[in-house]
Symmetry: C2
Subunit: 231 residues, 2 copies
DNA sequence: GGATGTGAAGTAGTTCACAGCC
DNA sequence: GGCTGTGAACTACTTCACATCC
């Protein structure tokens, strides 16, 4: 068991998904010159209720100050610590098509200590070219050691890539291929599937859930607030 | 209230998110020459329990046959109907940076009846160029009518774009910018945030949830099955 | 006074287990 | 016999409401 867990209890998945949002907001709040932030403000900006914020943060150990809220710097560093962002992560991306290339070149992809160490493709026309400062390797080559693998291949290769990642001792993966993959227990997989997102939106457009609460959807555990209704 | 809802009760958000997966699997199952599929098989392939499959599908009205499972063609068309995929959807994408371009060129993005009608950017060097068969319009121009808007701008412009989409009568949006946006009730927003996904994975790597159940994560309501453990 | 942290209550989602139907 | 559909039980998550502490 890691040191971060010693001070924090087991966090629920929705809570874990909200922590990066709180962190991003706190960051921005600091940049605007604030010292503290309270659960109400944080909730407003994150689109969740203040009680949810407090419940989430209470899982990180003693943190807030009754009467004045959370000290921004402390909050930020505690979230960093719990998420494990104070460590280094090596990432490899398999599949350098449109999406793979866009990802590795994207400003939003790599957070603090994540480092892109290798990119792979099967297409001989792409292998050997340079992407994001790295030479694209052939998928035939052995994979470099990495803690996180990103699957950007077509669906039909996703399972193969997942198997190879597992064999490579890479036990966390982000799968952009529209395919559910099977992995052994102990391996974490997150799915990002654009067409599913669109289809969910289309469901709500078709079955408009009525005047009240129709637009309040959840992704990553976030409730997009109905501004005009809340305010 | 739409016709699709007449035969189906209100579906929960996790259920809605799983329907596209069932559909994709059923499609593939048909392509392999099968006529029927049962909840057990469907669950296996989707990474959820068979009871969950049955509960999900029971919300679509009478569908299965006791003793022999679900008739593939019927299942597929019923899901299409409930999700509203039998209608046309016009989509506009704002922000033609790396990600926006990759998206509109991606094979996995546009489902059946979704049609890309307009793409926008603020950069004069990009406006006027052609992407995915469309000429990139200036963000200064009025937006084309559309049912779904996709936000691929940097975080600082996300709220502006969301506001303009709402003013444009576009009440469903997919937000790739790392920013929670505020919209009126009746507008649906889904978030796709790569760096949050990575941070969630990093949390699990750091706080390895132990030998048992460590790798079973949820996204879109999917449980990635532990193959070696289940089989 | 003011905001956190948390039992208790409420709500939502999943899983069990089996009656019902083919 | 086999598999769906669903009450009932269970588990997970959120929200309320307030005692607690600064």
């Amino acid at each position: 068991m890691s040191s971060a867990l010693k001070r924090s209890k087991q966090l629920s998945e929705p809570t874990v998904a909200r922590l990066p949002i709180y962190q991003r907001i706190t960051d921005e709040w600091i940049r605007r010159g604030n010292i503290r932030i309270d659960s109400d403000t944080l909730g407003q900006l994150a689109g969740v209720q203040s009680a949810t914020v407090r419940r989430d943060l209470s899982g990180l150990g003693p943190l807030g100050t009754r009467g004045s809220g959370y000290e921004c710097i402390l909050l930020k560093s505690r979230i960093d610590e719990v998420l494990g962002l104070d460590k280094r992560y090596d990432i490899i991306v398999v599949g350098m098509g449109n999406l793979g290339r866009a990802l590795v070149n994207s400003r939003n992809f790599l957070t603090g200590n994540a480092r892109l160490v290798g990119v792979y493709d099967s297409d001989p026309a792409i292998v050997g070219t340079e992407v994001a400062g790295l030479v694209v390797r052939s998928i035939e080559e052995p994979l470099l050691p990495a803690t996180v693998g990103v699957i950007c291949t077509p669906a039909e290769f996703a399972q193969d890539v997942a198997d190879r990642l597992v064999a490579n001792n890479t036990h966390a993966m982000l799968n952009f291929a529209p395919k559910v993959v099977t992995v052994p227990i102990g391996t974490a997989v997150r799915y990002v599937d654009f067409s599913i997102e669109l289809q969910i939106l289309e469901y709500h457009l078709t079955n408009g859930t009525g005047p009240l609460g129709g637009g309040v959807l959840h992704t990553l555990g976030i409730t997009a607030p109905g501004a005009t209704a809340n305010a």
